[in-house]
C-alpha cells in the first residue's frame, strides 16, 4: 500500500488544510502560514519518503520491467470497458514521482517563507491538491486515471495562477491556462475513445503492448501529442505558460517548470511503444519540439520580466525534450525532465527570492548589482545558470548533450532537428546570460524605495535553494533514470558523443560570451516584445472567432430565427383569427348570405359532384 499512501498523503494535507482554512474563516481569523505550510510540507516529505522506499523496493525486485502494482477499486465497468482505479510504479513513474515529491517538498518549504503575510491555508491546500493530482497522473494505471490527474493538475494550476484573485488579469491568465489545457485534454479524451474502440482497453500496460493499425496509430499518436502540447506548452498551445507567471513564484517553479508541464513528456514516454508505431507522429513531434525550442528561445531574448524569461526558457527546454521523444530517444527526454526540474526549479526559486527581496519588482531592467546584496541567491542562481547552459559538470550538460547526440544518431534522428536544437542552445546561453548579468551584475538600477528594503530571504527559502543547487550540480551524474526502447544504429549518421560534447560546450560558451558582451556595459532598457505575436493571433482568430460565432448564433438564430419562427407562427394564427373574423360584420343578412353560399356550395357538390346530375 506504499504507493497508495504516497499518493494520498498530499490529499490528507489538502483535507487538513481545507479544514483549517474554513475553520479560521468561520472564526474570522487569519490562518497561520507556518501551521498550514508545515502541514502541507510534512505531507510532502512523508510522500517523498514513501517514494524513496518504493524506489528501493523497485530496485530490489528482479525482472526486466520491475513494477509495483496496487489496485484500489474498479472505477468504471460497462460492457467491454473495465477501468481499474489503481497505481503502477515502474522506473518511469519512479523518476517522476521522486521529482514531484522531492522538488515539491522543497518548494512547499520555500513557500512558507515566500508566502508569509500573503498566503493562507488556501494556498497550501491548492499546492497539496496539485501534488495529489500530479501523482495520480504519473502513477495511474489506466488512461482515465491519467486523465483524472491530467485535468486535476490543470485545475490546481488554474487555482494557483489565479490565486491573487482580486486582480482580474490574474483570473484571465488562469482561465486562459485552463482553457488551452482543456483543448489539449480533448486530444487525450478522443485518444482514449480510439484506444477503446480498437484495443478494447484503457489500461496503460495493455495498451502499450497493443499493435494498432498504422492509420489508427497515427491518429492516436497525434491526438496524444495534441494533449501533450496543451499540458507541456508546445506549439500551438504554448501561449498560456508565460501568462501563468501571474501566480506566486513557487507555483511557477513547481507547476510551470518542474512538474506539470513535463507531464506531456511522461505521457509520450509512457506510450512510447504506441507512438513509435507511426513515423508520421514521430516526425511531427520532433519537428514541433524543435520549432518550439527555437521559437521560445528567440522570444525569451526579448523579455524583460524575469519570470517571463524563465517561462519562455521552460517552453524552449520542453521543446528539447519533445524533440528527444520525437527522434525516438524518449529516455533522453525523461533525463532532461529530471535535470530540468532541478535547475529550472532552482532558477525560479532564485527569481522568487529576488522578487521577494525587491518587494515584487520583476523587471530585469530595474535590477542589477544584486550579487553582493543577495549572496546566497546569487550563488545558487549561478548553479542553475550553469546547469541550463549545459556547462560541465552541471546536470544540464549531460541531459542536453544526450538530446543533441540522439537527435543525430537515434532511429528517427535528423540533422535539421539537431541544427535547430543546437541553435536554440546557443540562444539559451545568450538569454540566460543576459538575465544573469542584468540581475546580478553591473550598476544597481533599483528604484529608491525598492532599494531600501532589499534583504536576503529567510532560511526557509534559502535552504531549498541550496539543496536544489546541489541537485543541479550532481543530478547529471546519476545518469539516465529509465530505460526505454530506443532503436540505435539506424540513425541518420553516427557521430561520436565526444564531438557533440565539445560542440555543445562551445555553443554554450559562445552564447554566454555574446550575452555578457552585450549586457555587461551600459544598459539600454529594452521593451518587452513578442516577435511572433502568436498570442495576438489566437486572440484575433480563435477568441474573436468564438465570440463572433456566439454572437452570430445569438443574434441571428437565438434572438432572430427561433424567435421569428415563434412570432411568425403566432402571427399566422392571429392572422387566421382576424381573417375569419372579418366576415363577422354584425349584419344578420350578411351571415345569412354566407350560410346560403355555404349551402349552395354543398348542394353543387351534391348535385353535380356526387350524382353527376345533368351530365
Amino acid at each position: 500500500m506504499i504507493i497508495t499512501l504516497l499518493v494520498f498523503l498530499p490529499l490528507l494535507g489538502f483535507a487538513l488544510n481545507a479544514f483549517y482554512h474554513f475553520n479560521s474563516a468561520a472564526r474570522k481569523r487569519e490562518p497561520s502560514v507556518w501551521v498550514a505550510g508545515l502541514i502541507a510540507s510534512s505531507a510532502m516529505v512523508a510522500a517523498f519518503v514513501c517514494a524513496l522506499i518504493a524506489w528501493a523496493r523497485l530496485k530490489g525486485s528482479a525482472g526486466v520491467g520491475p513494477v509495483l502494482e496496487e489496485s484500489l477499486f474498479s472505477w468504471m465497468n460497462l460492457g467491454a470497458l473495465h477501468v481499474e482505479f489503481g497505481y503502477r510504479f515502474d522506473r518511469l513513474s519512479a523518476a517522476f514521482t521522486l521529482v514531484i515529491t522531492g522538488v515539491g517538498a522543497l518548494i512547499h518549504f520555500y513557500s512558507i517563507g515566500y508566502m508569509e503575510n500573503r498566503g493562507s491555508a488556501r494556498y497550501f491546500c491548492y499546492l497539496n491538491l496539485f501534488c495529489f493530482m500530479m501523482l495520480n497522473l504519473v502513477l495511474g494505471s489506466s488512461l482515465p486515471q491519467v486523465f483524472l490527474g491530467w485535468e486535476g493538475v490543470g485545475l490546481a494550476s488554474y487555482l494557483l495562477i489565479g490565486f491573487w484573485s482580486k486582480e482580474m488579469a490574474n483570473i484571465a491568465a488562469a482561465q486562459k491556462a485552463f482553457l488551452m489545457n482543456r483543448i489539449g485534454d480533448l486530444g487525450l479524451l478522443f485518444a482514449m475513445f480510439i484506444a477503446f474502440k480498437f484495443a478494447g482497453t484503457l489500461d496503460l500496460a495493455r495498451l502499450a503492448g497493443f499493435e494498432f493499425r498504422p492509420d489508427v496509430a497515427t491518429v492516436f499518436g497525434l491526438l496524444i501529442f495534441l494533449a501533450c502540447t496543451g499540458k507541456s506548452a508546445q506549439i500551438p498551445l504554448f501561449t498560456w505558460l508565460p501568462d501563468a507567471m501571474a501566480g506566486p513564484t513557487p507555483v511557477s517553479a513547481l507547476i510551470h517548470a518542474a512538474t506539470m508541464v513535463t507531464s506531456g513528456i511522461y505521457l509520450l514516454a509512457r506510450l512510447n511503444p504506441v507512438i513509435s508505431q507511426s513515423t508520421t507522429v514521430l516526425l511531427v513531434i520532433s519537428a514541433v519540439g524543435a520549432a518550439t525550442a527555437l521559437m521560445a528561445a528567440i522570444t525569451a531574448c526579448f523579455q524583460s520580466d524575469i519570470k517571463k524569461v524563465l517561462a519562455y526558457s521552460t517552453i524552449s527546454q520542453l521543446g528539447f525534450m519533445f524533440a528527444a521523444c520525437g527522434v525516438g530517444a524518449a529516455e533522453a527526454g525523461v533525463f532532461h525532465v529530471v535535470t530540468h526540474a532541478f535547475f529550472k526549479a532552482l532558477l525560479f526559486l532564485g527569481a522568487g527570492s529576488v522578487i521577494h527581496a525587491l518587494s515584487g519588482t520583476q523587471d530585469v531592467f530595474k535590477m542589477g548589482g544584486l550579487r553582493k546584496r543577495l549572496p546566497f541567491t546569487f550563488w545558487t542562481f549561478t548553479a542553475g545558470w550553469a546547469a541550463i547552459l549545459g556547462l560541465f559538470p552541471f546536470s544540464g550538460f549531460f541531459s542536453k548533450d544526450m538530446i543533441l547526440h540522439e537527435a543525430l544518431v537515434a532511429a528517427h534522428g535528423n540533422p535539421w532537428v539537431f541544427g535547430v536544437l543546437a541553435f536554440s542552445a546557443l540562444l539559451t546561453a545568450f538569454y540566460m546570460t543576459r538575465l544573469y548579468v542584468l540581475v546580478f551584475f553591473g550598476e544597481s538600477r533599483l528604484s529608491e524605495e525598492a532599494g531600501s528594503h532589499v534583504h536576503e530571504s529567510p532560511l526557509v527559502m534559502i535552504l531549498p535553494l541550496v539543496i536544489l543547487a546541489v541537485a543541479s550540480l550532481a543530478g547529471g551524474w546519476f545518469g539516465v533514470p529509465v530505460h526505454l526502447e530506443t532503436a540505435h544504429g539506424e540513425g541518420a549518421s553516427s557521430v561520436s558523443p565526444a564531438v557533440i560534447m565539445a560542440l555543445s560546450l562551445l555553443i554554450a560558451g559562445v552564447g554566454a560570451f555574446l550575452g555578457y558582451r552585450k549586457y555587461s556595459g551600459t544598459i539600454q532598457v529594452e521593451a518587452t516584445k513578442d516577435p511572433f505575436r502568436v498570442d495576438e493571433f489566437y486572440g484575433a482568430v480563435v477568441g474573436r472567432g468564438v465570440k463572433s460565432l456566439a454572437s452570430f448564433f445569438g443574434r441571428y438564430l437565438e434572438d432572430g430565427f427561433f424567435q421569428k419562427i415563434l412570432q411568425v407562427s403566432g402571427a399566422a394564427v392571429d392572422l387566421g383569427g382576424n381573417l375569419f373574423k372579418t366576415v363577422q360584420t354584425g349584419s344578420a343578412q350578411g351571415y345569412l348570405l354566407m350560410m346560403v353560399l355555404a349551402l349552395l356550395g354543398l348542394m353543387f357538390g351534391l348535385v353535380f359532384g356526387v350524382n353527376g346530375y345533368g351530365n
Partner: protein, 488 residues
C-alpha cells in the same frame, strides 16, 4: 418480479402532502415543505433501495417491482407502475429535486406559501406518475399534468414580464405532448384494427409499433420525438427555455432544469427506444448530430450570456445534449451512461441554481446586475459553487465526468463526428462556467456589505449540510460508478 402495491405510495403520499400543505400554517410552511420532501426522499430511497444498491443488473432486475391497478378498463389504460433500474433513478432524483427546490431561495414563502407548497407536491406527484407508469396514457397524464404547477409557479412567483415566457413554455410543450398523444392514439387505433384487446400498456404497444408500415412508423415516431425533444430540450426546439428559466422563481427553475428535462430523457429511453427501434436507427445519424449541435450551440450561447441564470439555462441545454447523445446511441450501454449522466446533471444543475439562489438572497438580487467579488465575503458558499461548477464542466472525479466519459465513449463508435463536435462543446463548457464563476466570485466587491441585512452570513446550517452531502455524493459516485452500471 414481485407484485407490490407499496408503489402506489409514491403517488398517494405527494397528494397527501399537497392536501396537508393547505392546512399547515403559513409560518411553518417552508419547514413543513422541506421536512415532508425529505421524508418522501427517504421513503423513495427505501422503496427503491433494492434496485439502487444492487451490485449486479440481475439483482436489480429481481428487485424490480410492478404494480397493476385496473383504472380505466374502458380505454384499456391501467395504472401499471413499474420501479426498475431505469425508473428508480428518476424517482429518487425527483424526490431529491423537491428537497433542493423547497430549500432554495425562500422568497416564495412570503407570498401564498400554501399554494406554492401544494403546487410543489402536485408536481412531485405528476412526475412520479410519469416516471413510474408503464402505460402510455397514464404516462401522458402525468407528463401533461406537470405543466399545471409549473405554469403557476412561474406565473405567480416569477419576475416581471413572465406571462409571455409562460405562454411560450406551455404552448411549445403542449404542442409536443399533444402530438405525442396523437401518436399514442395512432398506435391504439392500429391495435384496434389488428383486432387485439385495447391496452395502452407499453408491452402491448411494442408489437403494434413494430408492425407499422415504414411511413406510419416514422410519423408516429416523430410525434414522440417532438414531445421529448421539446421537453429536454434539443436545439431547434429549445426556444421556450431561456426566458422561462430566467423569469421563473428559483425553485421552479430548479425543478425545470433538474427534473422536468429528465422527462424527455426518460421518455426517450423508456418509450421511444423500444417502440421505434428501426425508425430511430434510420435517423440515428441525424439524431446524434442534433444532440451534438445542441451541445455546441447552447454552449456558445451560454458563453455569450451575461445573466447568470440565462447562462445556467443554456448550460443545462448543453449538458442535456450529452445525455441525449448517449440515448441516441441506442445501445444498452449508451442509455445506461445517459441515465448516469442524467443523475449527475440533476444534482449539479439543481445545486447550481440552488447556490445561485443563495447568492441572489445575499446580494441585491440578480436582476439588478451581476454582483461581483463575493467569494471573499462568502467563502463557503463560493467554494461550494466552485466545486459544483467543476462537476458541471465534468472534471474527472465527479459523477458528471464518469457519465459524460461513458456517453462519449459509447457514442464515438456510433458517430465519431458528433462525438468530436460535442467534445468541443465540453471545452466551451469550461469557458462559460469559468466566466460564470469569475463574474460573481472574483474582482473587487461590488456590493455594500452594510446593505445586505439579515442574509449577510455565509452558507450554514441545514443548507450547508444539504450542499455538503450532495457534493459528497457527486464526488463519491464519481468513483463508485458500479451503483449505476451494475456490471452491465
Amino acid at each position: 418480479m414481485e407484485i407490490s402495491d407499496s408503489l402506489s405510495f409514491l403517488l398517494t403520499l405527494p397528494l397527501f402532502a399537497m392536501v396537508l400543505s393547505l392546512v399547515v400554517p403559513r409560518a411553518v410552511q417552508r419547514g413543513y415543505a422541506i421536512f415532508a420532501s425529505l421524508l418522501f426522499l427517504a421513503l423513495t430511497v427505501y422503496e427503491s433501495s433494492g434496485i439502487l444498491f444492487a451490485t449486479s443488473a440481475a439483482t436489480a432486475a429481481r428487485f424490480a417491482v410492478e404494480h397493476q391497478l385496473q383504472w380505466l378498463p374502458q380505454i384499456g389504460a391501467k395504472l401499471s407502475l413499474r420501479l426498475d433500474s431505469v425508473s428508480a433513478w428518476f424517482v429518487v432524483m425527483n424526490a431529491l429535486t423537491a428537497v433542493i427546490a423547497f430549500s432554495s431561495k425562500g422568497v416564495w414563502y412570503r407570498k401564498s406559501p400554501k399554494l406554492f407548497t401544494a403546487l410543489g407536491f402536485f408536481l412531485l406527484f405528476g412526475l412520479n406518475t410519469a416516471f413510474l407508469s408503464q402505460d402510455l396514457i397514464v404516462f401522458y397524464l402525468g407528463y401533461e399534468s406537470v405543466f399545471i404547477p409549473m405554469i403557476f409557479m412561474v406565473g405567480i412567483w416569477g419576475e416581471n414580464q413572465k406571462a409571455s415566457a409562460v405562454f411560450r413554455f406551455f404552448l411549445m410543450s403542449f404542442l409536443g405532448s399533444i402530438l405525442m398523444l396523437v401518436s399514442v392514439f395512432f398506435l391504439l387505433s392500429r391495435q384496434v384494427k389488428d383486432g387485439g384487446a385495447v391496452s395502452s400498456h407499453l408491452g402491448s404497444l411494442i408489437p403494434v409499433a413494430g408492425g407499422l408500415p415504414e411511413l406510419h412508423a416514422k410519423l408516429a415516431f416523430f410525434g414522440f420525438f417532438l414531445a421529448f425533444a421539446i421537453k429536454v430540450p434539443l436545439v431547434p426546439f429549445h426556444s421556450w427555455l431561456k426566458d422561462v428559466y430566467v423569469l421563473a422563481p428559483f425553485p421552479a427553475t430548479i425543478w425545470m432544469s433538474a427534473i422536468l428535462s429528465k422527462l424527455g430523457v426518460y421518455g426517450m429511453i423508456r418509450f421511444v427506444m423500444p417502440l421505434f427501434p428501426q425508425t430511430m436507427g434510420t435517423y440515428q445519424g441525424v439524431l446524434m448530430a442534433i444532440a451534438a449541435c445542441s451541445v455546441v450551440y447552447a454552449a456558445l450561447l451560454a458563453y455569450r450570456s451575461n445573466q447568470p441564470k440565462a447562462l445556467l439555462a443554456y448550460s443545462s441545454i448543453s449538458h442535456l445534449g450529452f445525455v441525449m447523445l448517449g440515448v441516441f446511441t441506442m445501445k444498452n450501454q449508451g442509455a445506461l451512461s445517459a441515465i448516469f449522466l442524467s443523475v449527475g446533471h440533476t444534482m449539479v444543475s439543481a445545486l447550481l441554481f440552488f447556490l445561485l439562489s443563495k447568492i441572489d438572497e445575499r446580494s441585491e438580487g440578480l436582476d439588478l446586475g451581476v454582483p461581483r467579488g463575493l467569494s471573499q465575503q462568502f467563502p463557503v458558499l463560493f467554494t461550494a459553487l466552485f466545486v459544483v461548477m467543476l462537476a458541471s464542466v465534468s472534471l474527472p472525479g465527479t459523477l458528471n465526468f464518469a457519465g459524460e466519459f461513458l456517453v462519449l465513449l459509447n457514442s464515438w463508435p456510433v458517430s465519431t463526428l458528433s462525438t468530436v463536435v460535442a467534445g468541443f462543446g465540453a471545452v466551451l463548457g469550461a469557458a462559460y462556467m469559468l466566466k460564470f464563476y469569475q463574474q460573481m466570485g472574483f474582482g473587487a466587491s461590488s456590493t455594500d456589505p452594510g446593505k445586505q441585512g439579515a442574509h449577510a452570513e455565509d452558507l450554514s446550517g441545514f443548507e450547508l449540510v444539504l450542499v455538503f452531502l450532495l457534493i459528497m455524493a457527486v464526488v463519491v459516485f464519481g468513483f463508485q460508478t458500479s451503483i449505476f452500471l451494475k456490471g452491465n
